[in-house]
């Protein structure tokens, strides 16, 4: 694939070619593609439904009402869906390792992680982003939001660094897969489990959960903290409201761990023996 691209097209050309090929391939089976889109959008809608039912049944949960939950879920789920689009397919690594196909990536003249990130660009994940964005826009409309620089800064930070946090968590998981292989499900605890926790009002968490999802796997930065900042609500003990300005640090922390785990994992890998 890379050979057919003229060298002058620049260093990014092979990546662009792969992504374009992936997009064409997915759209060629129209029925499957449409069902795929529907399935991905349904995930977003139903995950929101799960939070909505609980909050709706009691009115206010952990200081947030149903309207605030729209904002919380929209922000965290948009960040997750974007992170998933960039790096979600890294959880295929155990399959690649078992089948020995990971070795072929080593033979190509691009960095392994970069290749894997673009190896499976899934258009259906855009449907999930659309579902999250819809919830977020409705949330913007239904809440009394003071649209000043601070609010815009909080939202921008939540979406960009939130995406980085979730993409980083997928890279952490990918690094661990080189050791786990059959225990791949372990990493779901903080990737998909992180997405689930990020969509909940963190004010109801027990102390260990607040530490885990607030600091170790800092997903509260993607939904709960920005929501509290935008709506100017009181924050619970353990999660002070100024913490929202540390969102870039949280993303940095996740990526530092991610690159370390990735490096350890790649060094640990001995090849498929093929």
């Amino acid at each position: 694939m890379a050979d057919s691209v003229p060298a002058a097209a620049g260093r990014l050309a092979p990546y662009v070619a792969v992504v374009r090929a992936r997009i064409r391939a997915q759209r060629s089976y129209r029925t499957s593609f449409r069902i795929d889109l529907l399935g991905s959008a349904a995930i977003g809608v139903i995950e929101f439904g799960e939070v909505w039912i609980v909050v709706h049944s009691v009115g206010t949960l952990g200081g947030l009402n149903v309207r605030a939950i729209l904002l919380l879920f929209g922000l965290s789920n948009l960040a997750f869906a974007s992170g998933n689009l960039i790096a979600g397919h890294l959880d295929q690594i155990p399959t690649y390792i078992r089948a020995g196909t990971l070795d072929t990536f080593y033979l190509r003249p691009q960095p392994l992680l970069a290749q894997l990130l673009i190896s499976d660009f899934q258009l259906r994940r855009l449907a999930r982003m659309t579902a999250a964005t819809t919830v977020l826009v409705v949330g913007f409309g239904l809440n009394d939001i003071v649209w000043d620089v601070r609010t815009v800064a909080v939202i921008t930070m939540a979406v960009t660094f939130g995406t980085a946090i979730f993409a980083g968590l997928f890279v952490c998981a990918a690094g661990l897969q080189f050791y786990l292989i059959n225990g791949a499900e372990l990493t779901n605890a903080f990737t998909y489990g992180g997405a689930y926790a990020a969509g909940q009002p963190a004010s109801v968490f027990t102390r260990p959960l607040t530490l885990f999802f607030g600091y170790l796997v800092p997903v509260v930065f993607t939904g709960y903290l920005p929501t509290v900042a935008i709506l100017r609500l009181d924050s619970p003990p353990g999660l002070p409201s100024w913490l929202v300005w540390c969102t870039p640090l949280a993303a940095l922390w996740v990526w530092a761990v991610a690159l370390l785990l990735w490096r350890l994992g790649v060094r640990h890998y001995q090849g498929g023996g093929g």
Partner: protein
């Protein structure tokens, strides 16, 4: 060979079940990973639902703190056995054409795959089911009945729930006879089934319109039903009704699966030799 007494008709299925159990028992690390993930999700679910019960003044849709604890940890404990992912081995075998080999065997295809899955499910209770409930009891707390009847009926209900979940996945995967890529259908199935079976939110919390939709599907019979029976949320008499409804769905979905096998078999074309 023909002089020897014929083995009973269920003998091969018992062997399939044992093989399923043994295969699942080989993946120790996978079982430990599954438990840890179950428990993390369980803690988040428990924190949210217990806060909701507290916010409602101690009782929400008939659930107390102990009752919701039982719901959370029973659902987490049963998750591995009931398996809502939408994947089933038959799907791969249909796609690759290996299912043709299954058709030549002197056993029922649906029955053989069901037996293997029941064996797999039975094993998951040892590393995932029982530890989940124990961890829940020691941390967030839960209320379980102190009499044997709910557990006896619950075992039957759980068996039917696992069977029903398998039969649904089996039928969904058989769609591969007609469509090449079943991933979208499987995703859709996973999302809808795990929502309507009561995995993340108990069905009694659903608003009436959603509860009506759920009641028209087999999904609550997979998970909410065995949870209700084991936890004693439904009385012994009502529990019989719950189990009866599960039997109805098992019968209906099994019949649909058999129709799909017969019609799919006519569609199947395997190349080469």
């Amino acid at each position: 060979m023909s002089i020897a007494t014929a083995a009973p008709i269920w003998a091969p299925y018992w062997r399939f079940a044992r093989a399923g159990f043994r295969r699942e028992s080989r993946y120790r690390l996978a079982a430990a990973a599954g438990l840890l993930t179950n428990v993390v999700f369980g803690f988040v679910k428990a924190a949210v639902l217990m806060a909701a019960v507290e916010a409602a003044g101690g009782t929400l849709a008939g659930y107390t703190a102990g009752g919701i604890g039982a719901y959370v940890w029973l659902s987490q404990g049963m998750y591995g056995a009931i398996q809502l992912t939408g994947d089933a081995e038959i799907g791969d075998r249909v796609r690759t054409g290996d299912v043709a080999v299954d058709f030549t065997r002197p056993v029922d295809v649906q029955g053989a795959h069901l037996a293997t899955d029941l064996g797999r499910a039975a094993f998951t209770f040892i590393p995932r089911g029982i530890p989940s409930v124990l961890i829940g009891a020691l941390t967030t707390g839960l209320a379980l009945p102190m009499v044997p009847l709910p557990y006896l009926l619950g075992a039957v209900s759980l068996f039917l729930g696992v069977t029903l979940s398998f039969l649904c996945r089996f039928a969904v995967n058989l769609l591969g006879f007609w469509i090449i890529e079943t991933r979208g259908v499987r995703t859709l199935y996973m999302v809808i089934s795990s929502f309507l079976c009561g995995l993340f939110v108990p069905v009694p919390l659903f608003p009436p319109w959603l509860a009506a939709i759920a009641a028209a599907t087999p999904f609550p019979s997979m998970m909410q039903a065995p949870i209700d029976v084991v936890s004693g949320r439904v009385s012994a008499l009502d529990a019989l009704g719950v189990v009866g409804l599960q039997c109805f769905w098992v019968f209906v979905i099994a019949a649909i699966g058999r129709v799909l096998i017969v019609t799919g078999r006519r569609k199947l074309e395997v190349q080469g030799g």
